[in-house]
């Protein structure tokens, strides 16, 4: 990075922190620290919930995801608008009426203490771990740009963030997110413009779409159908997006305190509802645009030589391994194919622009593209070898590498700053919610019920600090998780379904007691976690299928082959069904609602 980039980055980051601290004056109690005295208008709620969901991972991984897998990832968000409507009808009015600090407080009213504690513990476990991954995401940028040690970078990154989150509470989180979002959108639009601007003369935006679409990157809608029927292992298609995405969004926005804590800061129920519904309107188009930037970057690299692998550290790793000769051969072939592809892209554009039959040039282009993809796969196979043990997923590095290599001075600094502040927005909200749940659901319930307002305030700050340190520790182990955006979503899907199931029973099945829902949730969570680690268990104990009853073995095999998005639906429906069954055999009556 140039000096100008460093200056731009430092100014943007300093502005964000200063603005957050300047706006963070609230009363020194739980209401002020966690709920900003319930004073926020709808547009602050909207920016805050969007800023909480859109982390650095969104801006790092999503364009890379479009580059490698096309734009079909947008379908993952299709269930979100429907979830916003259900939230506004059922969840939000109840939370507002009861004036809760955390979503889990309601569960004690409805069921009992143990169900509240179980649910808040599942949240704390899941959110604590995924916040660690969110700390790691921007740290890889600094470490790869500056050659810094990743462990120290995590500490530096998390330390800056903890500073303003601990000081300012929910109000600082909301106001920084407001400014962050404006800067983020400005940066993404400028990037999209620059990608098209950097293309050769005579190649416009529409041409980039034609090339990208022809090479399969504009696959926004996919159905998941194959010759053998529906592919349940296909991660992103319209059905997994609508059904799995709906359950995930309902659980995330309705039961994850990092989101519930944002709309509980609204001054009225109406402001909360409008903020959530506006999120339902803008989220899908926003994600579409971010992915489109990735598709544009892909087209850019059809006219320019891309690196065979976007994570330079891994390339260096192979260079110093016994496979350096293989690497040289692969790189030579890759360069030759890329040059051929550049000529074919021009030929294809020339054909369709002049009205000629472009089928032949299009087929040739697709063929060469498949060959370059095959070379990339060969490269990844070397990284996977036992004596190399590299990270064969470069999705997170694609956009970053493009920015650093091709964006003009000053803009690189702005975009790097954007990645940082986007990350801060979501981590800050997560730390605030982790602290609120620990204080309200655990500490004040089991450790000290009689805290004064001043003690509550001080305790909240200490817990925020503690969770920040925990996230940094987790970040140190987040190195080999593949695409980070997927890692966060997979982790969420292991817990969100069960948490949502508990809330669905609470809202809609008035006759089910706490006892039934508690044991149902424990059982379903165990099944989901077991099915997730089943391939690993089979590897460790290959003789296990012979010992287990056939039905259980087959059930676990089916469960472990299902794509993670479906786990949200399975978890939620599983809790509801088992709770109903347990209630049938239980003599206990439900607690009053």
């Amino acid at each position: 990075m140039s000096l100008l980039d460093w200056i731009v980055m430092a100014i943007v980051m300093a502005c964000i922190v200063s603005y957050g601290l300047y706006k963070s004056t609230t009363t020194k109690d739980l209401d002020g620290y966690f709920l900003s005295n319930r004073s926020m208008p709808w547009y602050m709620i909207l920016l805050s919930i969007m800023g909480t969901q859109a982390s650095a991972i969104t801006f790092l991984s999503a364009p890379g995801q479009a580059y490698t897998d096309g734009m079909r990832f947008v379908q993952y968000y299709f269930g979100l608008p429907v979830a916003m409507v259900i939230l506004c009808i059922t969840f939000v009015p109840i939370f507002h009426r009861l004036k809760v600090y955390t979503a889990y407080e309601y569960l004690e009213n409805r069921f009992d203490v143990k169900t509240r504690t179980l649910t808040s513990s599942l949240f704390l476990l899941q959110r604590g771990l995924s916040t660690g991954i969110s700390v790691y995401a921007p740290s890889i940028i600094l470490s790869s740009l500056l050659g810094w040690n990743i462990y120290w970078t995590n500490i530096f990154m998390g330390g800056l963030l903890i500073f303003y989150t601990v000081s300012g509470g929910a109000r600082a989180v909301a106001y920084t997110q407001q400014l962050q979002f404006i800067i983020i959108f400005l940066g993404m639009f400028v990037t999209a413009y620059m990608v098209v601007h950097l293309l050769p003369d005579g190649i416009g935006f529409f041409d980039t779409l034609k090339v990208s679409g022809r090479l399969g990157k504009l696959n926004v809608i996919t159905t998941g159908s194959t010759d053998n029927g529906f592919n349940w292992n296909d991660r992103y298609n319209i059905w997994s997006g609508l059904v799995g995405g709906f359950f995930l969004a309902l659980s995330y926005f309705g039961t994850d305190q990092s989101q519930v804590g944002r709309y509980l800061t609204a001054k009225t129920l109406t402001e909360s509802r409008i903020g959530l519904l506006m999120n339902g309107l803008v989220k899908v188009p926003m994600q579409f645009l971010i992915l489109l930037v990735g598709a544009l970057v892909f087209t850019f690299y059809q006219f320019n030589q891309p690196p065979i692998f976007f994570n330079e550290t891994q390339v260096e790793k192979i260079k110093s391994s016994p496979y350096n000769d293989s690497l040289q051969v692969l790189q030579k072939q890759y360069t030759q194919l890329s040059e051929k592809k550049q000529a074919l892209v021009r030929e294809y554009i020339g054909d369709y622009k002049s009205g000629k039959d472009a089928r032949e040039s299009s087929a040739a282009l697709q063929e060469v593209n498949s060959q370059t993809e095959a070379l990339r796969t060969d490269f990844k196979k070397i990284l996977d070898k036992e004596d190399v043990r590299g990270d064969s997923n470069d999705t997170n590095y694609i956009f970053l590498r493009f920015v650093v290599d091709h964006m003009p001075k000053g803009l690189v600094g702005l975009l790097i700053a954007i990645i940082f502040i986007a990350s801060w927005g979501s981590i800050a909200a997560a730390l605030n919610s982790l602290s609120s749940s620990t204080v309200v659901d655990i500490h004040k319930k089991f450790v000290n019920k009689e805290c004064t307002a001043a003690e509550d305030y001080s305790l909240s700050k200490w817990y925020t600090f503690g969770w920040g340190v925990f996230s940094i520790i987790i970040a140190q182990f987040a190195g080999n998780m593949g695409s980070l955006i997927e890692a966060v979503n997979v982790l969420g899907s292991l817990f969100y379904g069960v948490i949502l199931g508990i809330f669905l029973v609470a809202f809609y099945l008035k006759r089910v007691s706490g006892q039934a829902v508690f044991y149902s949730a424990v059982l379903v969570e165990l099944i989901i976690i077991l099915s997730f680690i089943w391939p690993w268990i089979m590897k460790q104990w290959p003789s296990l299928p012979g010992i287990l009853p056939v039905a259980i073995d087959r059930f676990m095999l089916v469960m472990s082959s299902i794509s993670f998005l479906w786990l949200n639906a399975i978890g939620a429906i599983g809790v509801v069904i088992f709770a109903l069954v347990f209630q049938l055999f239980s003599k206990r009556q439900p607690a009053s609602v």
Partner: protein
């Protein structure tokens, strides 16, 4: 927090209209995305 029972609903006459608008917008988007995919494929 204020008692919102009598809060005026912005833009539409009822919350039901708001909900239908959000769902309708999603349906329109999915159709547009479908044609976008087909056109550029």
């Amino acid at each position: 927090m204020h008692d919102e029972v009598n809060d005026k609903i912005p833009l539409f006459k009822s919350w039901k209209q708001w909900y239908l608008f959000v769902i309708g917008f999603l349906v329109v988007l999915i159709f547009l995305f479908y044609f976008f995919t087909k056109y550029f494929a």
